[in-house]
Amino acid sequence: MSDAVLARAAGAASRPPVPLFVRAAAAWVLAMLAVALLADVVAPYAYTTLDLRNRLAPPAGFGGVWAHPLGTDELGRDVASRLIMSIRMSLLIAFGATIIAASLGTALGFLAAHFRGWVEQIVLALVDFQASLPFLILALAVLAFFGNSLPLFIGLLGLHGWERYARIARGLAISAGAQGYAAAVRQLGASPWRVYGRHVLPNIASTLIVSMTLAFPEIILLESGLSFLGLGVQPPDTSLGNMVGYGREYLTRAPWILLAPAATIVLTTLSVSVLGDWLRDRLDPTLR
């Protein structure tokens, strides 16, 4: 009888129940994902439909009509529908950027760990470079020079946070390679592809995923900030930050136009952060 069996029994007993607010966060995230996926079905109106008779209508319950539960904007467009489309756009961008950053960062981290020497120095210099400028400034500069199409925007946001994944991948790959299982497999005669693809990557996947969950809200905030400034998602596309930006002009007269997307941004960011923290505590407490 191995001590491992005893450990398993103990572990099952001591696993704490999932806290309430984590469950609430998970519920919100699932709701947002559902909205994003089913946007076309769920939205009561197309997001460009004008309803000029009901311009600047407040939300239902505050004096508005039930046809527009969250009110309308200055052109009579239904806030709820625009909100739904914005959620889809913002989530799409955030997912795309997170995956790009994670792939790029992990690949560079592996390259640095495998080749060491000058390759590693170059990667570290790039990490330094990334840390030497606030990302917002960098993003603004690139947007100024290259203009603003959606794929470029997603690619640009995908450069945010790659250095985190690179650091993780490099660190874990080096320690696996020096004394650990990666060294053992390489010593068996495995090619580097096999070592990294079949062994290192699955082992660090959970750490990477936690990192992605923690970075995801930052991308949402970045994207909404840039869109708020008018430099991100351009009309006719709409995103959460976009809506806040346009709603700002009607702050005094029709605050609901910007409060709905603003609240969505805050709640979504909060939920993903809470989930990420919980995941990290469960899976990998060594990650900060």
């Binding site: 210099a125 470079f129 606030p134 100024a144 603003a262």
Partner: protein, 308 residues
């Protein structure tokens, strides 16, 4: 120690060179720099002179050298909007930005760090939970939302404070508070976790077991060790003194460097964008270098022998 500093200084310089190179590459990739830097309706002779001055028909590395040289002399082109030197345009906005970011930094340090330390020392108490809640709010509520909500409450509903512009000192209150609170929350969270990590170390327990009074343990052991990672993040905040208010300045129509940047990006006024980029990078690198210096002073491990 000297060697450590020399390495750091070298890396700082290297980073600046990288940023300049980045600006050069991006500039060349995005189109004809002459037309981009000079305004569209500049006279052809001026464009030609510019081309010659920057050697745009010469090999790439010569262009790079001339570009570098120009930057060293402070010549970053002229703004498209009013034809003045870009760097002057940026420089005259710096005081306005500092008027926001410096008081905000004071708030961040003055509220954030003590709150974080207090929360760590009184873990799981009510105060700790409040601080953590505030920290999470500071992290998840973007600055523009916070700013707009503050405007909604204090300017629109209550009418106590003005909502935008730069006429009087009262106009600065809301932007400073917006900036300060957000940063204070981040700093509180960070300081708290740094303190908690230090407090969990065996040497703290040893000091208590030796009978050292708790206040002395905190003062002599916990705080100095927790200061080390905190210094990094404070350094980052200092480095963003110029760039950190981009969004807030836009929300409050405050005429600082951040607002200038946003407008320049929208108008693709590349000379201005370039100037701000280099200025910000320089500030950051300088701040990080000071952090490295402080590290060397604070952390004895870095002063001793290192195996390569």
């Amino acid at each position: 120690m000297l060697r450590f500093l020399a390495i750091r200084a070298f890396r700082a310089l290297l980073t600046i060179v990288l940023v300049v190179t980045f600006a050069f590459v991006v500039l060349r990739l995005s189109g004809d720099p002459a037309l981009l830097i000079m305004s569209v309706d500049a006279p052809p002779e001026a464009v030609e002179a510019f081309r010659r001055a920057w050697g745009l028909d010469e090999p790439l590395w010569v262009q790079y050298a001339k570009y570098f040289n120009a930057i060293l002399h402070g010549d970053l082109g002229r703004s498209m909007r009013d034809g003045r030197d870009a760097i002057l345009l940026v420089a005259e906005r710096i005081p306005a930005t500092l008027a926001l970011t410096l008081p905000a930094l004071a708030i961040k340090l003055g509220i954030g760090i003590p709150a974080g330390i207090y929360a760590a020392l009184h873990r799981n108490s009510l105060a700790d939970r409040v601080v953590m809640l505030a920290a999470v709010a500071g992290f998840t509520v973007p600055s523009f939302v916070l700013g707009l909500v503050l405007v909604l409450v204090f300017a629109v509903q209550l009418g106590w404070l003005p909502s935008g512009g730069q006429e009087s000192w009262r106009h600065a209150i809301l932007p400073v508070v917006t900036l300060g609170l957000g940063g204070a929350a981040v700093l509180a969270r960070f300081t708290r976790s740094a303190m908690l990590e230090v407090l969990g170390q065996p040497y703290i327990r040893t000091a208590c077991a030796k009978g050292v009074p708790w206040a002395a343990v905190v003062r002599n052991h916990a705080l100095p060790n927790a200061a080390i990672p905190t210094v990094t993040i404070v350094g980052f905040m200092v480095g963003s003194l110029i760039a950190g208010a981009v969004v807030v300045e836009s929300v409050f129509s405050w005429p600082g460097v951040g607002r200038l940047l946003v407008v320049a990006v929208a108008n693709r006024d590349l000379a201005v964008v370039q100037s701000i980029l280099l200025l910000v990078a320089g500030t950051m690198v300088a701040a990080n270098f000071c952090v490295d210096l402080l590290y060397g002073a604070l952390d004895p491990r870095l002063r001793g022998a290192r195996a390569s």
